[in-house]
């Protein structure tokens, strides 16, 4: 479903060009559970951002469901992100003034889906993460684990085919981290491709496919 061919991403630091990822070839199929691991600064987050269309590669081609997304305009890319990709971040990135339900509904709101339909879907998703009774709490009234679960619910509300999680447990205690991973894995079992970026080998070990990145290049790609 995802085909990366010769993908590079260069950053200009001062007048020096630094390659965060170099010449990466990678192909991921629908429904896979992939962990991207590596030391900090290895380029794993950059790879995730390129896959999630938050960042544009400086070279190479990227086919997402057979569509060359490197050629798309900003507005078209936004459209693809909206419908196909769900993000989960280390720092949750919930909008502080909105309630859990409103945060979850945000992608649907942006997409212009009518309120009745939104409510129905949000109720459904809240139930699946076990936070139905917390629907009208604001993020500051929720625990870290609950916030991340709300963020996951938001990522899934548009029924994406990929969920990209960047250190999803990085800011959580191990108990909540386990819960969050459990929910993500459950989603994967339902057929959504799950891509987790982590530097924690224990978390990486849970994935069926483990890709190790060092200095912007794939060092190993182990399929279990």
């Amino acid at each position: 479903m995802i085909r990366l061919q010769g993908i590079s991403r260069e950053f200009l630091v001062g007048d020096q060009a630094i390659k965060a990822i170099k010449d990466i070839d990678l192909s991921l199929d629908a429904g896979e559970y992939v962990a991207i691991m590596g030391p900090s600064g290895s380029g794993k987050s950059t790879l995730l951002n390129v896959i999630g269309l938050l960042d544009r590669p400086t070279a190479g081609t990227y086919l997402l469901t057979a569509q060359d997304v490197t050629q798309l305009s900003d507005n078209e890319i936004a459209q693809v992100r909206q419908t196909k990709i769900g993000f989960v971040f280390q720092f949750f990135h919930l909008v502080p003034r909105l309630t859990a339900a409103e945060n979850i509904a945000l992608p649907m709101t942006l997409a212009g889906i009518p309120p009745a339909q939104r409510r129905e879907r949000v109720t459904e998703v809240l139930e699946s993460i076990g936070l139905s009774e917390r629907a009208h709490h604001r993020p500051d009234q929720l625990s870290g684990g609950q916030r991340q679960r709300v963020a996951i619910a938001r990522a899934t509300v548009m029924n994406p085919s990929v969920i990209l999680a960047d250190e999803p447990t990085g800011n959580l205690d191990s108990k909540s981290g386990q819960d969050v991973l459990r929910i993500l894995e459950l989603l994967n079992e339902q057929g959504i491709m799950l891509l987790v970026v982590t530097h924690d080998p224990e978390i990486g070990a849970r994935a069926r496919r483990r890709i190790r990145i060092v200095d912007g290049a794939i060092e190993s790609d182990i399929q279990q």
Binding site: N49, G52, L54, D55, D74, N75, A78, Q79, R81, Q82, T83, F87, F89, F91, H93, V95, P96, R97, L98, E102, L106, P107, T109, L110, A111, G112, P114, R154, M158
Partner: protein, 401 residues
Amino acid sequence: MTIRDVIAFTIRALQGFWVRTMLMLTAMAIGVAAVVMLTALGEGARRFVAEQFSALGTNLLIVLPGRSETTGGPPPLLGETPRDLTLDDALELKRIPGVRRVAPVSLGNAEVSVGARNRDVLIVGTSGDYQHIRQLNISQGRFLETPDPRRMFPECVIGAEVRKQMFGIQAALGQWLRLGDRRCRVVGILGTEQHSLGVSMDEIVLVPVSLALAMFNKESLFRVLVEARSRDRLTQTKDAILNVIRSRHEGEDDVTVIAQDAVLATFDKILRALTYAVAGIAAIALAVAGVLIMNIMLIAVTQRTAEIGLLKAIGAPPRQITLLFLSEAATLSMSGAVMGWMIGEFGAWVMAQAYPDVPIGAPAWAVLAALGVALATGVLFGILPAMRAAQLDPVTALSRR
């Protein structure tokens, strides 16, 4: 995103930063309130003057001694003084066919006394026609009756306040009043609260014009009020007046005749210019509010960088981000403007209570302009922050907590 969702999102954002919201609303409200109140005041002054002038009657011509226009030719010799505008001149004007009424006016201050009470008042020497020209009403007695204004008939009409001060609760009608070195009998008392060009008629004493001239030892009248028979014949009458005076003054054009229309038009122009000027000054407050909105929206973009990154990540195209921030700026400026409008109208209402004579009220053009400018500045100054928000790189935006 539907319009309703944009509005809901905007309102939530404004509520989320309510201190900032209140500050911006206040800034905008002050600007708009200033425009509304100042134009209300300026417009009130203009309408007040207009009303005063139309109270004088629209067919009025005023003859003044001396010439105010300059013409070509050699400058007048030193020491040349205009001829007096005499009572005889005034009486002669009455023969002009287009003239209905003529009221010669002589002004001066004199001491009035009754028994031990005395005070200084304004003495207006005139004729019976003055009552009709100035539309005065009499509460007791009658107005001056002067079949021949040249006769010094010792009678006077006093203002309500003069009556109160000089006679207290005693009957004034038919009593004798000492006016300077003369005596005259009170034949009438003016109704209260009459004004002429902002001068209260309550504190004057009206006497026959010849008596006033004699009292002040003058030949020349202060002015002559002439009421034409019709408005259409105003110019014709004006020319006729000039001709009569020229023939009596050895061919010299040494009086000035002004139509009260012309005076009104001048005042109207001045006061209108003044209103525009104060509105312009107040508009600066609006512009300042606009800059403030830009500033605060820029801060908001910085504050909410992560949120903007998130919105982008979950599928908001740049256009939508621009729309959201513009809608915030527009909502802020518009609600601030409406608040300011209400404050301004309230302020104008308070002023109207304080000065019931002056018809204070903001003209519709000023209100519309203030609201329009407020919205325009809000949106205009909102564009830059909104564009900045839309152009944020989602990766860097999200990397900040």
